[in-house]
């Protein structure tokens, strides 16, 4: 069992989910797959279906429209899974915090569904690629 747990840290498949983001973080994520940062050397890759995912990369301040979708995708992801609240908006709803349509940052929405959800915060607008790599690695140590 221990070796299986260890291999979990060496192979993280990420599902990228955009919940009312301004698209800036979404563009920045792609940088991780380029030759300069190449996260595949850590075994991290992007997958197309939440069923395959080990980490949900959630960008954006969650609005009322996106909330049920976020919860649905979280339920669809096999556990254990890591949730990455990505960018200033993901961590705290950012400058949109007081807007009428915003129902809260990622952690507040997810804790309603699953109080034990494992959430990593990567602040920045958008975060630097180095910060993203470091955030995910720290999150893995916490699991």
């Amino acid at each position: 069992m221990d070796i299986l747990k260890k291999s979990f840290k060496k192979s993280i498949w990420v599902f990228h989910l955009s919940t009312a983001a301004c698209n800036n973080c979404d563009i920045e994520v792609l940088e991780l797959l380029t030759p300069r940062y190449d996260v595949e050397r850590f075994g991290i890759k992007l997958v197309g279906s939440p069923r395959h995912a080990d980490a949900l990369l959630v960008c954006g301040s969650v609005n009322a429209h996106a909330k049920p979708r976020l919860l649905e995708v979280y339920r669809q992801t096999p556990k254990p899974c890591l949730v990455v609240a990505f960018g200033s908006c993901g961590c705290s709803s950012g400058i949109f915090r007081d807007s009428y349509s915003i129902v809260g940052p990622v952690d507040k929405v997810l804790k309603e569904e699953d109080p034990d959800a494992k959430i990593v915060y990567i602040p920045g607008c958008p975060p630097k690629p180095e910060a993203m790599i470091e955030g995910i690695i720290k999150g893995l140590e916490a699991i």
Binding site: L4, K6, S7, K10, S11, E40, R41, V47, R51, H52
Partner: protein, 301 residues
């Protein structure tokens, strides 16, 4: 007992999955180097399988549960059997039986059929699009490959792996003649489609259908599928080596690396084709080339 060891240890399940997962790593590493990236470490394939086994398995509400769980295992078992039959004959551990080439080719088709079953039982609309594509792809690449197999078997005068290898040992490898080169090109593309790799990855088109036919697979079920794909990546090049090269272990290893690198290069230099293009390609150009190779073989060129 001997059959048990053949099937589970060498050259069956354990050997084939280790070599297959190392080939998966080679595939990802070479692809990464082609794109000027560093690429994953050598144990990546093993880590992926271990991780998937550690994860929870989710069975969709609409799915037929036990069938959903069992189908990838059927695929895995039949691929392992196919590889065992191939390798036992290739390493000279057994005489094989008449018609084992046909048996092996259809055992390799069972993972695709299992996948069709899973995709259609999972109740996901995107999966069902993937299923329809997988069925069409299965029908299209089978025709040219069967023509090639029949051609080579009739050249050797028998549908047995040993006889094909023996014939090539006496008369020279198939690939050293014109018909062999054409048939080899056809077979490489058929294998690419059978492995579901770019440019023929339409059933699981990741950006378009969100993994399509595999969409609802998770945890151990996905691990079984990934493992059977890794074993196929080991078994299908061996199949080609037997059909076209047929001699010696050392030459076989070099030939294996050559075929794998060819598959990787095809994968990295082509975009995904549409399903109608794929069918036109296999039923038109590839079948035509296979028939041309058959005519050349008849005249002994």
């Amino acid at each position: 007992m001997r059959l048990f060891i053949y099937y589970f240890v060498f050259p069956g399940f354990i050997f084939a999955s280790v070599v297959g997962l190392l080939t998966v790593w080679l595939d990802r590493k070479v692809s990464a180097r082609i794109q000027w990236r560093y690429g994953p470490p050598w144990y990546q394939g093993f880590a992926d399988i271990g991780k998937l086994l550690y994860k929870e398995v989710i069975i969709p509400e609409e799915a037929f549960g036990s069938g959903f769980m069992a189908a990838p295992l059927f695929g895995l078992a039949s691929v392992t059997l196919a590889v065992t039959i191939l390798c036992v004959s290739f390493f000279g551990m057994s005489e094989g039986f008449i018609g084992d080439i046909i048996v092996v080719w259809y055992l390799f088709a069972i993972p695709a059929i299992a996948l069709i079953y899973i995709g259609s039982t999972s109740g996901n609309p995107l999966s069902s699009v993937g299923v329809s594509r997988e069925i069409k792809l299965l029908l299209s690449y089978d025709l040219p490959m069967i023509i090639v197999i029949v051609m080579i078997a009739s050249k050797a005068g028998s549908f047995s792996i040993r006889a094909v290898m023996e014939w090539q040992r006496i008369n020279g490898s198939n690939i050293s003649s014109w018909y062999g080169i054409i048939a080899f090109a056809v077979a490489i593309f058929c294998i690419q489609a059978k492995l579901g790799r770019v440019p023929f990855d339409l059933p699981e088109a990741e950006t378009e259908l969100g993994s399509g036919i595999l969409m609802e697979l998770s945890g151990g079920v996905l691990a079984a599928y990934e493992l059977s794909k890794a074993i196929m990546l080991f078994g299908l090049p061996i199949f080609l080596i037997i059909l076209f090269w047929g001699k010696g272990i050392i030459g076989g290893v070099l030939m294996y690396l050559l075929i794998v690198v060819l598959l990787i290069l095809i994968k990295n230099t082509n975009p995904r084709v549409r399903i109608d293009h794929a069918m036109k390609y296999f039923w038109g150009w590839m079948s035509g080339a296979a028939i041309l190779a058959g005519i050349l073989a008849y005249f002994g060129v």
